[in-house]
């Protein structure tokens, strides 16, 4: 009997079907650029643009792999990979739906109640719904076990109190998934935490926007004062929130958003610089980017087969974000431009990349935390 062997993820990405899909996304991006809605190098996957997300929803570029009953499109993983990497490389403003599509939606799909799935997932798929990640707190950055936000059980649900900070697009989000303590910290510091889906319109939620180095209020501080959350808005089982966080982070770390954040600037450098020195430096950056993409593609294939990828996911994010940060530094060596925020071409792209770059090796696990994970996974501690 002939065994049907599925082609590798890399082969799938190189198939004629994938090429046709790429062409379609590129046409979409080109139209957005022509209309002045995308300015390559000036926006990124955290830039909030609800109208753009609605158009992505119409195109079927959100919730691509989810079941149809929740507004998804039941496409294979390679199709989602093609669409998101084309949108990222095209410099699209994806902030209004990115986090919901990447991690909050999949989390609800896997661990949410039936009501939540029906209520929220179709909204995400349509591009109408933004999610904030409620993990960091003033006293809990890298060490999430130190969170103080807590939820007490009350009739029919939970009463939430505490404070989250540095939440991307928190002031514009419809919902937040809030990591909180549902029982006090014990010897197992990761036990007793839970994830709650919190509508930002709930009574007792207050939001203060925080301006970052980019010059925009793209972060927020969110306080919860006796906020009531119904039972069926807790994801998974009470106290088991940490395993959900870990699962979420594996998906958060290995995607192309971890190496394409400053890609538009790199592409502009190739278009607008020349000479032996530029060739040396740009050839090196492009080679490294291709190495990171090759690893990302390999990880996606393994995720699809249900294999463990945590060491490689941490490796990919670490190497990818290091590269993203190197790109604006190299721009200063291969061109004579000066960064000016809001300017056209290389100058404006350099300004945007330079100012957003410090965040790349902080969000989703700092470089040092990731290196610690890599060390642990390869058997060092």
């Amino acid at each position: 009997m002939q065994m049907q062997i599925e082609p590798s993820f890399r082969r799938q990405l190189l198939s004629p079907e994938a090429s046709a899909l790429r062409d379609r996304v590129r046409r979409f991006i080109a139209d957005e650029i022509d209309a002045g809605r995308i300015i390559p190098g000036r926006q990124s996957w955290t830039s909030f643009d609800r109208e753009f997300s609605l158009r992505c929803g119409e195109q079927g570029y959100i919730a691509m792999t989810w079941p149809r009953q929740y507004g998804g499109h039941e496409k294979p993983a390679w199709a989602r990979y093609v669409v998101i990497e084309e949108l990222l490389a095209g410099g699209a403003p994806l902030g209004s739906h990115w986090i919901a599509d990447r991690q909050s939606g999949p989390q609800i799909l896997r661990h949410g109640s039936d009501r939540l799935r029906h209520e929220i997932l179709p909204q995400i798929a349509a591009g109408r719904c933004c999610f904030g990640i409620g993990m960091s707190e003033p006293e809990a950055g890298s060490d999430l076990s130190a969170i103080r936000t807590k939820a007490e059980q009350v009739t029919g649900g939970w009463r939430l109190n505490g404070r989250k900070i540095w939440t991307t697009n928190g002031q514009l989000a419809e919902y937040m998934i809030v990591l909180c303590r549902t029982s006090p910290r014990s010897d197992d510091r990761y036990a007793g935490m839970s994830q709650l889906v919190v509508p930002m319109t709930s009574t007792g939620v207050a939001v203060r926007p925080i301006t970052t180095m980019v010059g925009e209020p793209e972060f927020a501080e969110v306080t919860f004062d006796d906020v009531f959350i119904p039972d069926d808005q807790l994801l998974g089982t009470p106290g088991a929130g940490w395993s959900l966080v870990m699962e979420e982070l594996a998906h958060e770390r290995s995607g192309p958003d971890r190496f394409l954040s400053t890609f538009s600037l790199l592409s502009l450098m190739v278009a607008q610089t020349q000479g032996a020195m530029a060739d040396q430096q740009l050839g090196g950056l492009i080679g490294r980017l291709m190495a990171v993409r090759a690893l990302s593609v390999s990880i996606s294939g393994r995720l699809g087969r249900g294999e463990g990828v945590s060491a490689d996911a941490a490796i990919m994010k670490e190497a990818g974000t290091r590269l993203e940060q190197q790109i604006p530094e190299t721009a200063r060596h291969v061109s004579k431009t000066t960064p000016i925020s809001g300017a056209a071409g290389l100058s404006g792209a350099l300004a945007a990349a330079r100012l957003s770059a410090p965040c790349f090796s902080l969000r989703g696990g700092t470089r040092e935390i990731l290196k610690g994970i890599i060390a642990r996974e390869i058997g060092l501690r």
Binding site: I38, F263, A291, L380
Partner: protein, 330 residues
């Protein structure tokens, strides 16, 4: 891994494991003869000429294991010449010919008993010439005897054996086999430092407990994973010619950068013992430093990558051809 790959890999491993003279150190004397006797150099030779009829992936699997032992074995030189000999209908050359490498304006080959002919790619035309392996001796960076083919030999040119495209394709394959050996070597060095950090104690604790050490080893593991992924992508056969070329430069570049980082961090972690001839790391580092600049060095890889990308037409929505080039070649 194919059945053939598996078989060849096991044979390679067996030969090398038998030759260990100290932990991680393989006896170089007579190794090449043993490899020839075992027929490992026939991996790419057609079955009609007594070869294995394997693919470059099969050859890369052997090269990787040779790298894991830092074997003093000019594998690409022998395998590629044997493949060409078979391809041009000259099977009598299979056991006695080496593929030459250019360094500045001289062609070099390893000096090995019985291997007295060289195939040299003309750098202007790309044609390949068969010449006697004669010239001045020198020792390469890893301590092996080599020959600089004399200008007389090169000027006479010898016999034309292949036309332009073949020379370029062989150089590309040499780069990939070299990258595969480097991958094997850095994998082994990674294992060595993990073992060392978990055994060696200073200040009353295992050095693996120090965050600085953990981070240096994490950097090593990062380079190993990236090199593995790029080599795997470059060995993908189902691509257009220009995409294969780009993927190949990327794999060689990544393996070269990895070799530098891994060697530097490993020496820092191992301390003085790794610097001495007594320790395997010493031998691995010399190989890595040789391989990273062999065939095509980092500078030339970068320039070639930039040149291919600059010559790729932009697609809709992009200011340059960078993106389509990347997507097609990874």
């Amino acid at each position: 891994m194919s059945e053939l790959s598996q078989l060849l890999a096991e044979t390679t491993d067996r030969i090398l494991a038998r030759r260990l003279i100290a932990p991680g150190i393989v006896e170089a004397e007579g190794l090449c003869g043993e490899v020839l006797d075992a027929g490992l150099h026939l991996v790419l030779v057609a079955e009609s000429d007594g070869g294995a009829g394997g693919t470059l992936k099969d050859a890369a699997a052997i090269a990787r294991i040779m790298g894991r032992h830092a074997a003093a074995m000019p594998f690409a030189e022998i395998v590629l010449a044997a493949r060409m000999a078979s391809k041009i209908g000259r099977p009598e050359l299979i056991d006695s010919t080496l593929w030459a490498q250019w360094v500045d304006d001289t062609a070099i080959v390893p000096a090995l008993p019985g291997l007295d002919r060289a195939m040299v790619t003309d750098r202007q035309s790309g044609s390949v010439w068969l010449v006697p392996a004669e010239g001045e001796g020198f020792t390469d960076f890893a301590g092996q005897a080599c020959l600089r083919l004399s200008h007389d030999v090169l000027a006479k040119r010898g016999e034309l054996v292949a036309t332009p495209g073949d020379g370029a394709a062989c150089l590309r394959d040499a780069m990939l086999l070299c990258a595969a050996s480097a991958l094997g070597a850095i994998e082994k060095v990674c294992d060595m430092v993990i073992d060392h950090a978990g055994t060696r104690s200073q200040f009353g604790r295992k050095i693996a407990a120090f965050q600085a050490i953990q981070h240096m080893i994490a950097d090593i593991a990062t380079e190993v994973a990236l090199t593995d992924a790029t080599l795997d992508a470059a060995l993908e056969e189902d691509r257009h010619e220009v995409d294969r070329r780009l993927a190949c430069y990327v794999a060689k570049l990544q393996s070269a950068q990895a070799s530098g980082i891994v060697a530097a961090n490993a020496h820092q972690i191992m301390g003085a013992i790794g610097y001495t001839e007594d320790h395997a790391l010493h031998h691995f580092t010399r190989r890595l430093w040789l391989w990273r600049d062999a065939w095509v060095n980092e500078a030339e890889c970068c320039t070639s990558i930039a040149s291919i990308v600059r010559n790729t037409a932009p697609v809709e929505g992009h200011s340059s051809g960078t993106w389509p080039a990347i997507v097609q070649a990874t």
